[in-house]
């Protein structure tokens, strides 16, 4: 499964530009799907038909990054962030564009905390004309993908958010044997405000929606108080500032996890949000819950995850698909 995660991570696709990652996921999913569609916004919807409940399982394909907005006469490239990119982490780091052009992202001053207005990308071009051969306004860049194993089952790199969620859905798709009508949705534009999952949920009109996404942890210096630890198992979301998960669904999720002997933690997240927020209010409303993967240093270039949590998340996804 680490190979799959890595492959997904090394296919850069920022919000609104998910074409490449969609192709990779589509190829991976097609042997196991009854039906695959792409909706107008670009959400990939993989269906496994059944006569039971209509369940939408959702992970987002997009990642944070930058859009090129301007190229000056000396070939320096100005960008605008897509989603909540950590400017400190990105600065002085390597970046790569959608067509494979490498560069570095640099703040104008090395003394201040970098602001997006004062950083630029240098691809080594001498002139605007030279830069424009490689880069057009509207193209995207991302911090260079990274993937490295550390001690225990821990991995560091980017973007785990939310390629791990996509990988978990793909694994679950392969394993699941269920009477329920399952929709595995790989959504677009989550990082800019859950814009993709709302129309996807409107189109599907599911009975239940489950989101797979990363969450923060409370076990690192400076963390906000939080009862989630890296490696403590997958997390069942109770609430974050964007969503109050349906209480009966949360109870049911815990019940099933306990029955199956799946290691889980209770998630109360004090900041951030997921696709669950927009799914919940789509159409006539959807009961939502979320399986979260604990991650340290989210939206930086060194996101960290623990493989233990991911394996538990796969088990819980499969169990919920069968038993809900």
């Amino acid at each position: 499964m680490t190979e799959l995660i890595k492959r997904l991570m090394f296919t850069p696709s920022v919000s609104g530009r998910e074409d490449k990652i969609r192709e990779v996921i589509k190829n991976e999913a097609s042997p196991y799907a009854d039906e695959i569609t792409t909706d107008p916004m670009g959400n990939l919807i993989v269906r496994k038909k059944g006569n039971g409940k209509k369940i939408m399982l959702c992970a987002h394909m997009d990642e944070i990054g930058f859009f090129v907005t301007f190229i000056d006469d000396s070939g320096n490239i100005r960008v605008s962030p897509v989603g909540g990119v950590n400017a400190i982490s990105a600065s002085y780091g390597e970046v790569v564009s959608e067509n494979g052009t490498y560069g570095v992202i640099v703040p104008e001053s090395s003394n201040d905390v970098p602001k997006w207005e004062s950083v630029y990308i240098d691809i080594g071009a001498k002139t605007k004309k030279q830069a424009e051969k490689k880069v057009q306004i509207g193209d995207f860049f991302v911090p260079v993908p990274k993937f490295r194993k550390l001690q225990n089952q821990r991995y560091v790199g980017r973007p785990f958010d939310d390629r791990v969620g996509c990988a978990i859905l793909l694994e679950a798709l392969k394993e699941v044997k269920s009477d329920n009508d399952l929709y595995f949705v790989f959504s677009v534009q989550e990082e800019v405000g859950g814009r993709g999952s709302r129309p996807a949920a409107f189109g599907i009109a599911p009975d239940i929606g489950i989101v797979l996404d990363v969450t923060a942890t409370g076990d690192k210096p400076g963390s906000k108080p939080m009862d989630v630890k890296l490696g403590g198992g997958c997390a069942i979301k109770i609430k974050d500032p964007s969503t109050i998960c349906s209480p009966d669904l949360v109870s049911k999720m815990r019940e099933i996890a306990t029955e199956e002997g799946i290691k889980f933690q209770n998630e109360m997240l004090l900041f951030g949000g997921t696709d669950a927020a927009s799914m919940q209010v789509a159409g006539k409303g959807v009961k939502v819950g979320a399986i979260s993967i604990p991650s340290a240093y989210i939206h930086s270039s060194c996101e960290m995850i623990d493989m233990v949590d991911i394996k538990e998340a796969v088990k819980l996804t499969v169990a919920l698909s069968n038993k809900l």
Partner: protein, 348 residues
């Protein structure tokens, strides 16, 4: 089209009070509707013209009818009015400006003269809460005869063409889009244009207060594609560095790839650019990502739509004098027409 732009821009229509603008548009196009077309007003007040082409890809062309304005929130004993802004208005543009009510009553924005300001007040800059409206009433009773709490008013402005092709007026945002849509509907009628699309023209309400008109309209239409026609605030003259100028007045229609509310469909954007190249229509891209518009709601409504936005560059937007260039206006119109005449975009 300039006469219509003038008429529409001078019309009274802050968000939630678009009736007069809608009436002008209805009168303008009711005799120019192509055969089979329908014109309806929905519950929110959106005016929707449908030129059917059954079974074909649905394209929603969109411009908003409303403008930024003000609402009376209180009447003081001395006959002065307290007010709030409808939509985003920088208080800097308000001092001593003429205003006009729906009833035709005129007034002026009253601010404390500079020599009476305390140091703190001067430093803090203009604030709406420190301003009031003078409508020439000297008592509360007098004022209550001609206005009420909840009454709307807008900038009182003239339509002036000046320099080489510049226009200034209030509410060019987004009456220019409405004027272009009216003209395109007339063109379809007069030149008997057959579009590849099932066409909807939505003149929407309440864009300036969070795109709620477009929400209802797009939920009803459920378009496959949407083309939003807007005006866009540009920073070409404020000493901004090149990378923050957004776009430049007179440099052509702005074909953007994203704003703060939506990331547009890339293939649709490229399709429009290639149409402009083919038709030799002058266009520019946006150099800085800012603002938002109806596309934010249309894109993620119902099962989602592929959106793109065409903008006409505007200085001093949301003030008594929005300024645009007529050449950009013409280029924007030509681009809309080109899209309507073109085949549905395919992936490269």
């Amino acid at each position: 089209m300039r006469e219509l732009l003038k008429k529409l821009s001078l019309a009274f229509g802050p968000s939630g009070c678009e009736d007069k603008v809608r009436e002008i548009i209805e009168n303008e196009i009711k005799d120019k509707l192509p055969k089979g077309a329908t014109m309806t007003t929905d519950n929110t007040g959106n005016l929707i013209v449908h030129i059917p082409n059954e079974g074909k890809t649905k394209l929603m062309v969109n411009a908003h009818m409303d403008e930024v304005g003000f609402m009376v929130t209180g009447i003081l004993e001395n006959g002065m009015l307290k007010f709030g802004c409808v939509g985003g208005i920088d208080p800097v543009v308000l001092g001593s400006k003429r205003v006009i009510f729906e009833s035709g009553v005129k007034g002026n924005v009253a601010v404390k003269p500079v020599h009476l300001l305390t140091k703190e007040e001067y430093k803090a800059g203009p604030r709406v809460k420190n301003m009031s409206i003078d409508i020439g009433a000297t008592t509360k009773e007098e004022a209550e005869k001609i206005t009420f709490v909840g009454d709307y008013f807008t900038f009182d402005s003239d339509y002036i063409e000046y320099g080489e092709g510049f226009v200034k007026c209030k509410a060019l945002d987004d009456r220019l889009g409405c004027a272009i849509m009216c003209q395109v509907i007339k063109d379809i009628y007069e030149e008997n244009i057959k579009s590849d699309y099932d066409l909807y023209f939505a003149f929407t309400c309440r864009e300036e207060v969070g795109y709620s008109g477009a929400f209802g309209a797009s939920m009803k239409i459920k378009p496959d594609y949407a083309l939003v026609i807007e005006s866009k605030a540009v920073g070409d003259i404020y000493g901004s560095p090149d990378e923050k100028k957004v776009s430049i007045l007179g440099d052509g229609v702005i074909i953007s790839f994203a704003d703060r509310g939506a990331i547009y469909d890339r293939d649709f954007v490229r399709h429009i650019m290639s149409l402009c190249d083919k038709e030799k229509i002058k266009y520019q891209t946006n150099k800085y990502i800012s603002g938002g518009n109806d596309s934010a709601n249309i894109q993620k409504n119902a099962s989602g739509a592929k959106v793109s936005v065409l903008s006409c560059a505007s200085r001093y937007i949301h003030s008594q004098s929005d300024v645009i260039h007529l050449e950009d206006f013409e280029n924007t119109y030509q681009t809309v027409l080109a899209v309507i005449k073109s085949a549905v975009p395919t992936k490269e």
